[in-house]
């Protein structure tokens, strides 16, 4: 347990040092995310006009956008860091010093989530300044919202482990990551509620969709998540995320073993 805390501390410090030393990366990231949002926002407004319909869906739009950010960061972080670290030989150094790599990646996922929250807070600040739109949120719903966000991110990171595992074996799979980011963008904005039952069932099996649906209930409609009508959905989200993190981890462990068999931890 203390070792886990030390990992956590080491990872936090490493992240802080890197962000401090290379601030441009973070600023560029923030700017790009903001500009994409601005483009979408202005585009949508010019299409729909400033009608009440637009006003209503704006909150949902923002929620989807923020959750999309978690999806991309969960997937790209792991694959990108594995690509870079294996080419520099750092991966082997990590395995020499801490062989339980999956555990280390959980810790990194957590640090990444915290970092993502800070990032999102900044992004949301910019968005609010631009759109003059506050998300409806009172203190009572903060806990449930946090729970839903965490559950969703766990599922997304579990999904990311599939690609992290593939990155261990095949290295350059960054291009696949780009396609996935687009895929998740569609997923975040798809009007799932208006689809056929079968379509809904299928889409709710993917990560992200259930989380966004629950968040919209709280943040757009202003209804409580912990109402009895929503508990089924909440359980569904928990089960979905548990599946992804378990299967993703198992797949990741398999790939790790295969990488050790094929001598692919290094830059070979």
């Amino acid at each position: 347990m203390t070792q886990l805390l030390r990992l956590l501390q080491a990872e936090f410090i490493r992240t802080l040092i890197l962000r401090w030393r290379y601030p441009l990366e973070l600023l560029t990231g923030l700017t790009v995310m903001y500009l994409i949002f601005l483009g979408l926002f202005l585009g949508a407004r010019s299409l729909v006009g400033e009608t009440t319909g637009f006003e209503l869906s704006l909150s949902g739009f923002i929620v989807s956008y923020l959750m999309w950010f978690f999806a991309i960061s969960a997937i790209s972080r792991l694959t990108y860091s594995i690509e870079v670290e294996s080419s520099q030989g750092v991966l082997e150094q990590i395995f020499l010093n801490y062989p339980r790599y999956l555990l280390l990646q959980y810790v990194r996922g957590f640090v990444d989530f915290i970092e993502g929250l800070v990032f999102i807070a900044a992004l949301l600040g910019l968005i609010i300044l631009t759109t003059h739109r506050m998300l409806t949120m009172d203190w009572a719903s903060a806990g449930p919202v946090a729970l839903v966000v965490i559950l969703t991110v766990v599922g997304l990171q579990g999904f990311g482990f599939f690609f992290g595992g593939l990155a261990l074996l095949f290295k350059r799979i960054g291009q696949v990551g780009g396609v996935l980011q687009f895929g998740f963008f569609l997923l975040a904005y798809l009007p799932v509620e208006r689809m056929s039952v079968v379509g809904q069932q299928l889409l709710y099996c993917l990560p992200l969709t259930q989380g966004i649906r629950l968040l919209k209930i709280a943040l757009v409609d202003g209804r409580p998540i912990f109402a009895s009508a929503n508990l089924g959905m909440l359980a569904g989200l928990a089960a979905n995320s548990a599946c992804y993190i378990l299967l993703g981890s198992a797949f990741f462990l398999l790939c790790e073993k295969k990488a050790k068999i094929d001598g692919r931890l290094g830059q070979y």
């Binding site: 070792q3 410090i13 890197l18 520099q88 082997e92 062989p99 001598g263």
Partner: protein, 343 residues
């Protein structure tokens, strides 16, 4: 080659018929499988420097990575032992410098790298603090301690990797071409440090290198690999005395050699030009001491004025070349005898 001296000390680790074959990921490329290590059986005692030599592609790096647990073996096993000779259930803490890559975070400084890896390794924090400083100043990196590794020279990066391997005082060190790219001074420092670790601290070190001179000065035992096999393994002195021949190198004026030559024709020798003018260097390959007396008699009879005479002791390099050459011809013979194709 058999070992004449009995090693009394406890083993550090034991490889037992260790084999590694790399299969390509794509199923229909499986015929391109490479056997990097083949039936390697080896027992390395604690408290020595064991140097693994071999031509490119012999399987040295693969052996090191198998020991480090970075590669899983296809067959065979590796056992590690504690200082009392008891079998360890798990791989002990190992410090390693891997070939060619720096194995550290380029964007972090040497100090930050030492702290990060020390922390995740679980080394007590007070130890990290003390050793990080000590290691960096030992390797002359104190003034670069806080600049990011990517701004350091290649040799400095290599030294950071070595410092990292030494952090936490591991009992077993695996060093794959550790002195690659180091300047004379640093290479010397490392040699001294390695001897110190072994002699004063009882550490065990496995080192691969292509620098015979390095192996000859730091290694207690030498293993020579070729095509994945361990083809010789012994103390350096045993290897050398096994190949010691009655070779004498005589330098004399060209005119005298002309006169001696017919008489010496029964002996086997090579001749070459000296550095000086009108001088020949003849190396006699003698069978025994009688041959030596015979040679001396010839020289005396002709009254040859000798410029110099010395017995030639083989260096590790000579031994290495001889052993690998013999292995190659043997392998070729066997292949031909079996009607196989010679690669």
């Amino acid at each position: 080659m058999s070992d004449s001296t009995v090693t009394t000390s406890a083993p550090a680790f034991e490889l037992s018929r260790l084999s590694k074959t790399f299969y390509p990921l794509i199923p229909w490329h499986r015929h391109r499988a490479v056997t990097a290590v083949s039936e390697l059986t080896l027992n390395v005692p604690r408290g020595i420097v064991f140097s693994l030599l071999g031509p490119n592609g012999a399987g040295k790096t693969t052996t090191i990575k198998l020991l480090a647990g970075l590669i899983l073996p296809t067959q065979g096993s590796i056992s590690f032992f504690d200082e009392k000779g008891r079998l360890l259930a798990r791989r002990p803490r190992i410090g390693a410098v891997l070939e060619g890559s720096r194995n550290v975070y380029w964007r972090l400084s040497p100090m930050e790298n030492l702290y990060y890896f020390g922390e995740i390794n679980g080394i007590p924090r007070s130890e990290i603090r003390r050793q990080a400083k000590e290691l960096l100043s030992m390797f002359d990196l104190a003034d670069k301690a806080n600049s990011s590794v990517q701004t350091l020279s290649r040799g400095m990066q290599q030294k950071v990797a070595i410092a990292l391997a030494l952090l936490g005082d591991p009992d077993l060190l695996l060093l794959d071409e550790p002195t690659l790219g180091l300047d004379v001074e640093s290479a010397r420092l490392i040699k001294r440090r390695l001897r110190h670790l072994v002699e004063e601290r009882g550490k065990t070190i496995v080192l691969t290198t292509h620098q015979m001179e390095l192996a000859a000065t730091v290694a207690d035992r030498i293993g020579i690999m070729q095509e994945g096999r361990l083809i010789a393994e012994d103390k350096l002195s045993n290897l050398i005395s096994f190949f010691r021949k009655q070779d004498y190198e005589v330098e004399m004026p060209r005119a005298s050699w002309k006169e001696v030559r017919p008489a010496a024709s029964a002996l086997s020798f090579d001749e070459e030009e000296c550095d000086e003018e009108d001088c020949v260097r003849v190396t006699f390959h003698l069978e025994d001491t009688n041959d030596f007396y015979r040679l001396m008699t010839h020289l005396k009879e002709q009254g040859a004025p000798l410029r110099s005479i010395r017995q030639v002791t083989p260096t590790l390099e000579d031994v290495f070349i001889e052993i690998t050459r013999r292995y190659r011809t043997n392998a070729t013979d066997t292949a031909q005898a079996q009607g196989g194709e010679v690669k």
